[in-house]
């Protein structure tokens, strides 16, 4: 199973995006500064946006889903129960998973944005998708929900999961790292092998790499263990 981008190009209003690379089974992190083109690339990977040139090739991928930053964009019904049923899931199971038991009859727009995001992600994680693109899945979520998602994704390496995120403290085990720099997709490489060559790593990762040569990955467990080794 793999997703290949060949010389993808998008140009719009002063912004241009270029991407080539192959996403194989496993968990990928796509990071980069705000405005660097991550979400646009996510839309291309999720077949929502057609590139102006280049080719997207999917091998062995039968089902795919794109989770957008705004959970409101995914709403298609009026109540919590109807929304869950629209995904083809058991409402009790989804609500238990999302920590929202008892909210079945509620108007979906009475949920807070964080609650709505939890509901949406629970529906998504309980489905079977060969390719999942999660655009800022942790944004707006409390700590418990972020670690809940992370633990679900950590055990799931038999499909292609692409996480677009700035939040470096709650990641699952990451197999491969990509970065968007000014509209260009860079293949940083496998984790942990390429950690030390990640020139634009976030402040926390740079600090850990500087003080702990044994940093073995980007999952929250790896980071927590590295901090413990440094600070005791």
């Amino acid at each position: 199973m793999q997703l290949t981008l060949e010389q993808i190009q998008v140009n719009r209003e002063g912004f241009s995006l270029q991407a080539s690379g192959t996403f194989r089974q496993g968990v990928h992190l796509l990071t980069g500064r705000v405005g660097s083109g991550k979400s646009t690339l996510g839309e291309i990977l999720g077949s929502v946006l057609e590139p102006e040139s280049g080719m997207v090739t999917k091998e062995g991928i039968r089902t795919s889903v794109l989770s957008m930053q705004f959970p409101e964009y995914h709403i298609t019904t009026t109540t919590v129960k109807e929304e869950i049923l629209s995904w083809g899931h058991d409402p009790d199971l989804v609500l238990k998973t999302a920590g929202l038991s008892g909210r079945e009859p509620d108007d979906i727009l009475t949920l807070s944005r964080g609650e709505l995001k939890r509901l949406h992600l629970a529906c998504l994680l309980l489905g079977r998708y060969d390719l999942m693109i999660l655009d800022e899945p942790f944004a707006g979520l409390d700590e418990e929900a972020r670690y809940w998602i992370s633990s679900h994704l950590s055990d799931d390496h038999d499909r292609i999961i692409i996480i677009i995120s700035h939040d470096i403290t709650t990641l699952p085990r990451i197999d491969h790292l990509w970065e968007m720099q000014d509209g260009v997709l860079l293949d940083i490489g496998e984790i942990p092998g390429s950690l030390h060559s990640w020139k634009t790593a976030p402040h926390l990762i740079r600090y850990l790499l500087k003080n702990d040569s044994d940093l073995s990955g980007l999952s929250w467990k790896d980071l927590a263990e590295a901090v413990c080794r440094i600070h005791g």
């Binding site: 912004f15 660097s36 807070s112 418990e144 670690y147 402040h203 926390l204 740079r206 600070h231």
Partner: protein
């Protein structure tokens, strides 16, 4: 000082809360009442019971700057310059004064190259800067940032933090889930179920948060304000 007494407002139930001037982080689980608290302090929501005073005046008599999680959703105008000037224009300030204020603020924030750009063509960080400028141009008594950091990278956030620190707004209140942001505050308010669970400086709140059982306790090291101070000290 912001004083809340006997507040009941939606899910909020706060017998008493005093917020001293400074940078205050408000954190807590989804649905715990963070946004409702901020909306009550901003005068967007009126409490069913109780009183809120900002020094000696009520919220709707105070000047409030608000920047939301997705700032462009609340923008009224197409061009950056019109959005930034909008509050002063709505309050019928003289055109010359408005032009001077926009020029002075956007020079400080390095926003001048963006002034004629349509808002929709801006990056996420530029949109936040535009919303921040629109909020700061009124010289607010309180600046509120409701999970504005959710979608921003660390470098963009550090630029925005520096602007906020230099803006000399008496009260800056920001809702956040990020441990690095909590560590950067002068004071922290932790909410749960519409109530104030804890309040104190980042170290005090961090120490108290691990009394009793906590199934996320292995993460303790990543929440420690001392870690984030060390990270920022190394990097600056």
């Amino acid at each position: 000082m912001i004083s809340l007494n006997s507040i009941r407002c939606g899910c909020l139930s706060i017998p008493h809360l005093s917020i001293e001037p400074g940078l205050v982080a408000i954190t807590g689980p989804n649905g715990s009442g963070k946004t409702t608290l901020l909306e009550a302090i901003a005068g967007i929501q009126l409490p069913a019971q109780g009183s809120i005073l900002i020094n000696t005046i009520r919220p709707r008599e105070a000047t409030i700057g608000w920047v939301g999680e997705f700032p462009d959703l609340n923008m009224t105008f197409t061009r950056v310059i019109d959005e930034i000037a909008s509050t002063l224009r709505f309050s019928h300030q003289p055109c010359r004064m408005i032009d001077e204020s926009v020029h002075e603020l956007t020079t400080t924030l390095n926003l001048e190259p963006l002034l004629d750009r349509p808002v929709r063509t801006l990056s996420g960080g530029e949109k936040v800067l535009t919303a921040l400028a629109a909020a700061l141009i009124t010289k607010p008594d309180i600046l509120i940032l409701d999970e504005t950091d959710s979608h921003l990278d660390a470098s963009t956030l550090r630029s925005i933090d520096a602007i906020i620190r230099d803006a000399n707004v008496p009260h800056v209140l920001f809702a956040t889930h990020r441990p690095d942001r909590v560590a950067s505050a002068d004071r922290v308010i932790v909410m749960r179920g519409g109530e104030i669970l804890r309040e104190g400086n980042p170290d005090e709140v961090f120490m108290k948060s691990f009394h009793g059982s906590d199934h996320l306790s292995p993460l303790r090291s990543l929440r420690d304000p001392a870690l984030w101070r060390a990270v920022h000290a190394t990097d600056s």
